[in-house]
């Protein structure tokens, strides 16, 4: 078994509940193995806290293989830490050096209120999807799947947009806390498919309206979201959403 040899100083945001003001608290961890994931390092810290009789740090996580989108730490000023194309659970400690100080904060956005410590409420995303992130087809209505040929390039582009894991890193990193990349990815996925185009107008209008109602900021095209997105969702999707939305408003 590999032995850990890294000693780190962690500055972690602690906040009892939504109403608490919260503050950054310093912790030391030692004997951290470079093979650990960032979350496993937090497991070690939590074990340490429990053994001292202190409450563990709350953070969201589930699949720990980079696909569920639940983990959400803002590490040293970047969502999911310094590496490109990975979520926090896939960030490994070998990306840090012995003696490093690491600042860990929750996603910060008015639309993502902190529930506790590093856990935030991202249900705004669900509400946006519920306004139009779907195709209105009831179970049992489908024709044969091969009846509508879809050009491979469109199918691939739709897939690339659909690869969004809804983690919220785009909102977290955006200087404006804008959710446009998230919303655009879903609007794009359906705009690229013939099945989705049927409801394109209502979808664009309803989803954008809900996005605005949730209190996300506005896009200033800095492109930070695209860079920090663990799934590499492209800015092209935002442009496509803009087109869809403008056309929707011209048509109706």
């Amino acid at each position: 078994m590999s032995q850990g040899n890294m000693n780190l100083t962690l500055k972690v945001w602690r906040q009892k509940n939504e109403k608490d003001t919260g503050k950054i608290v310093d912790y030391k961890v030692s004997d951290i193995s470079p093979d650990m994931s960032f979350l496993e390092m937090f497991d070690v810290l939590n074990e340490q806290l429990i053994s001292k009789g202190e409450e563990s740090i709350a953070f969201d996580h589930d699949c720990r293989e980079g696909i569920c989108g639940m983990c959400s730490m803002f590490i040293n000023g970047q969502p999911h830490g310094p590496n490109k194309g990975v979520t926090t659970c896939q960030l490994h400690m070998r990306s840090f050096k012995d003696g490093d100080t690491i600042v860990v904060e929750p996603w910060r956005a008015a639309a993502f209120p902190v529930i506790k410590d590093l856990t935030v409420d991202r249900s705004a995303f669900d509400r946006i999807i519920s306004k139009g992130g779907f195709i209105s087809v009831n179970t049992g209505n489908a024709q044969d799947a091969n009846n509508i040929p879809i050009p491979k390039t469109d199918a691939d582009a739709a897939f690339s947009a659909a690869a969004c894991i809804g983690c919220g890193a785009c909102v977290a990193t955006c200087k404006n806390s804008s959710a446009m990349l998230f919303v655009a990815a879903k609007i794009s996925q359906f705009a690229l498919l013939p099945q989705g185009q049927v409801e394109g107008i209502a979808r664009a209008k309803n989803m954008v309206a809900q996005m605005d109602a949730e209190g996300f900021g506005n896009c200033t095209n800095t492109g930070a979201c695209e860079v920090e997105c663990p799934k590499g969702i492209s800015l092209e999707n935002i442009a496509r959403m803009n087109r869809e939305f403008f056309m929707a408003n011209i048509m109706e």
């Binding site: 904060e105 956005a109 209502a202 309206a209 605005d212 200033t220 920090e228 403008f246």
Partner: protein
């Protein structure tokens, strides 16, 4: 699904972006004309051609109307920017202790508000120096062709080192504002395509550099006496 949203298009986040981009592009088109006309000074003919151009701009009825549209566009651009900035600030009430913006975006793309504010300050100085004089308070005499001598004002102003520095700072802000603004306007309009976007970005970059260099060359060449 039925359309359930009743929000006003132009009041939506995307509507505001549309206004920003359209007004921005309109202001860019003004910059091109302004730059072209001002470049007449480089003929170094004692400002005759330049004053001729200034006269045209002052007397042509279409230009007169466009001037009003221009101011309207500028004000709209500023008001929208102000609203957007306020909304954006509200969208993150608690800031990060550490945010490493440099890892994912350019500083000027994140500083459009500051750059725009600097431009506004510059614009006030600039308008006070030239536009107010030519339009309201009057100019000092006529040139050899009998046109009002705006050129003489220019020579006078740019002898002052402080004014030159203010202008260079203004032009610098303009360069960076454009570097992001130009391509950003296209993105906001929904014009992003893997084939054409690199081209738009390159044009935006070169446009920002060239137009700013030409503008910067004006006070500098007068200050250093290359143009008399």
């Amino acid at each position: 699904m039925s359309t359930t949203s009743s929000t006003n298009f132009l009041q939506s986040s995307l509507g505001k972006k549309l206004i920003m981009s359209l007004t921005g592009l309109f202001l860019i088109s003004f910059l091109v004309i302004h730059c072209l006309l001002n470049s007449f000074i480089f003929f170094n003919d004692g400002g005759l051609l330049f004053n001729e151009g200034a006269k045209f701009m002052a007397e042509n009825p279409i230009i007169r109307i466009m001037e009003i549209v221009l101011f309207a566009g500028l004000i709209l651009h500023m008001i929208q920017a102000l609203i957007l900035t306020m909304q954006n600030n509200k969208a993150r009430p608690i800031k990060y202790a550490v945010q490493k913006g440099a890892a994912n975006s350019t500083w000027y793309s994140r500083s459009m508000g500051i750059l725009g504010s600097l431009l506004l300050i510059f614009l006030v100085v600039h308008l006070a120096n030239f536009w107010v004089k030519s339009r309201f308070t009057g100019l000092p005499g006529l040139d050899a062709n009998g046109n009002e001598n705006l050129y003489a004002v220019m020579l006078e102003e740019f002898k002052e080192p402080l004014i030159v520095i203010v202008y260079l700072l203004g032009v610098g802000s303009l360069a960076y504002h454009l570097m992001h603004g130009f391509q950003s306007a296209f993105q906001s309009l929904g014009w992003n395509h893997p084939k054409y976007t690199p081209c738009i970005k390159a044009i935006g970059l070169w446009f920002s550099i060239i137009i700013s260099v030409i503008f910067a060359a004006m006070p500098l060449s007068i200050f250093f006496g290359c143009i008399k």
